[in-house]
């Protein structure tokens, strides 16, 4: 087990350092900080519910920043390795492509975690400075933003194992847009009158990741308690998507030529 994990750790570490030193990352981070700053200004325009404005704006900023970093870094990851041929020297060592891609992915989610930690810390500091009430749901809400970014990053890495960076980015954006609307889509289909459309489309909807599992929305804004078992179900759901995606990416990389 140790011999399997050691190269993964080495790859993850180098990937983490590489992304951290990428100047593009700082643009996204700065953008998110600016949005959080704007949320403070916006909160000053209202006399009541200032903490809610901060939360809404801030969480959107974190969601956007983590999502963009996950998608863009993930989508370019494998293509960059091929282009610079850095991957070939690594694959000439006694490691599998699955180990390589897992290491790359773990490095990326470590960067996402650091980004999330910085932004969430700022967000919470601002929230509490405006006398926001401490509540568990906010922490879960923030944590699920990171988990959602990890799922999107897994999709980006998966797509990048067989297609170009730009196509990968477009596909993940598509997944994000549809994934956040899976429940309404299912409801529309269920209410539909044409039976064969229901029979064909409903199983297809199940193949789309339901990102509402990571979106606590009004539960966070109003500090409501989470339904029983929501946290572990959502975490399991995220893992159930990420693991097969990375394993498939490893398999696809085996078949990739050039």
């Amino acid at each position: 087990m140790k011999t399997f994990l050691k190269p993964i750790y080495a790859i993850a570490r180098v990937t983490f350092q590489e992304i951290i030193l990428d100047k593009v990352l700082y643009n996204f981070l700065l953008f998110a900080f600016l949005l959080i700053g704007v949320s403070y200004l916006a909160s000053q325009l209202t006399f009541i519910g200032q903490d809610r404005v901060i939360l809404d704006f801030g969480m959107s900023a974190i969601n956007l920043s983590c999502g963009i970093i996950g998608v863009f870094q993930g989508a370019g990851m494998i293509g960059r390795e091929y282009e610079r041929r850095t991957m070939f020297v690594a694959l000439a060592r006694p490691i599998s492509r699955l180990q390589f891609i897992t290491g790359k992915f773990l490095g990326l989610i470590a960067v996402l975690f650091l980004n999330w930690l910085l932004l969430s810390g700022t967000e919470l500091a601002l929230y509490f400075s405006l006398s926001g009430a401490p509540n568990e749901t906010i922490l879960y809400g923030l944590a699920f933003l990171w988990i959602q970014a990890c799922v999107l990053a897994a999709f980006a890495v998966f797509f990048s194992s067989f297609t170009t960076t730009s196509i990968s980015v477009m596909m993940v954006i598509g997944i994000y847009l549809i994934g956040n609307n899976v429940d309404p889509l299912r409801q529309v289909l269920e209410k539909g009158k044409v039976e064969w459309v229901k029979t064909v489309a409903l199983p297809l909807v199940s193949l789309i990741p339901n990102l509402s599992h990571f979106n606590l929305g009004f539960l966070v804004t109003y500090g409501l308690e989470l339904p029983h078992g929501f946290v572990w179900r959502s975490v399991a759901y995220a893992i159930a998507w990420m693991v097969p995606l990375i394993v498939c990416a490893g398999r696809l990389l085996d078949r990739r030529e050039g």
């Binding site: 050691k6 070939f88 020297v89 060592r93």
Partner: protein, 298 residues
């Protein structure tokens, strides 16, 4: 040591994903403790074969074994050190960081990595740059650190893909000397190049491919041994017509100081020089023309 047996490799390319054959049944062996040169023009399939040897890819057909182990097996990979063509590594890493990274990928213990790093850095003459980030390295330094990463796990078999490409004459000479030094330590070295004199200067054996097919393979001496050696004679004080009239030279060219001519065989040197002196020619120089691999392969 390395056995390449009827290796074929095809890629799908184009809109219809039609098969393009890159290697067409290549077969040869690399003996242990030799410096083996792998020649071929650009696009001949050298890097493809190297990717198969290093286990980066699997062949479409045939078999590659290193000491009887399939080259795609982890056990074989542990015996191989690989320097890619135009090495590009993560440039945020320092020389030491890069070596530690590849040591970990090979499964070395942390203690062994720490012991080995100064040794390999010293052997490639890069101790001074161990703390320097790779983005600050010159091309020659990258090539050297590339060789160092290939050696970090002390492999028996080194595969160097165009190790002298893009280097200036001094850099080429240094890498040549390094290759000889590595071979002296008992390693088998397999290196590819499209520059024949580079291969000729250091190799014991060579193989050449062209358009994916093996053109020749064997000891360098086997290609260089000839029954007769041509000789270049330079002289002045005689017109080219008079020199041609002697009927001895296979080539003749006028230059500012006189005439340069080639005698097809060294057996005729004495008689030709005597004939030239009878014509009151001044002999400028006489040089045997050493046979080269270029003559053998091209």
């Amino acid at each position: 040591m390395l056995k390449i047996d009827a290796v074929r490799q095809s890629f799908r390319s184009g809109f219809w994903l039609s098969q393009t054959e890159i290697l067409k049944g290549v077969t040869f062996e690399v003996p242990k403790r030799s410096i083996f040169g792998f020649l071929g023009p650009n696009g001949a399939g050298k890097t493809t074969l190297i990717h198969l040897i290093t286990g980066i890819k699997k062949p479409t057909g045939g078999r590659l074994t290193l000491d009887g182990i399939d080259c795609s097996e982890k056990e074989a990979k542990r015996k191989i050190g690989y320097l890619p063509e135009r090495p590009y590594f993560y440039d945020h890493l320092t020389g030491e960081g890069l070596l530690a990274y590849f040591g970990r990928l090979t499964g070395m213990r942390e203690g062994d990595i720490e012991t080995r790093i100064p040794q390999v850095l010293a052997s490639v003459g890069m101790t001074h740059a161990r703390k320097l980030e790779l983005k600050k390295y010159s091309k020659g330094m990258l090539q050297r650190i590339g060789i160092a990463q290939a050696m970090i796990h002390d492999p028996e078999f080194l595969v160097l893909d165009e190790p002298m490409s893009g280097l200036d004459p001094i850099g080429r000479k240094e890498i040549r000397e390094l290759i000889i030094e590595l071979a002296r330590e008992g390693r088998t070295i397999f290196f590819s190049s499209h520059v024949i004199p580079d291969v000729e200067a250091v190799c014991d054996s060579v193989a050449m491919i062209r358009k994916g097919e093996l053109v020749g393979c064997g000891k360098v001496s086997q290609f260089l041994d000839r029954e007769t050696t041509p000789v270049e004679v330079a002289f002045s004080g005689v017109t080219s017509e008079a020199a041609r009239a002697l009927g001895k030279f296979s080539e003749l060219r006028e230059m500012s100081e006189g005439i340069r001519a080639i005698l097809p065989s060294d057996a005729e040197v004495e008689t030709t020089l005597r004939s030239l002196m009878d014509l009151h020619a001044k002999i400028l120089w006489v040089n045997p023309v050493r046979p080269s691999l270029e003559d053998a392969f091209l």
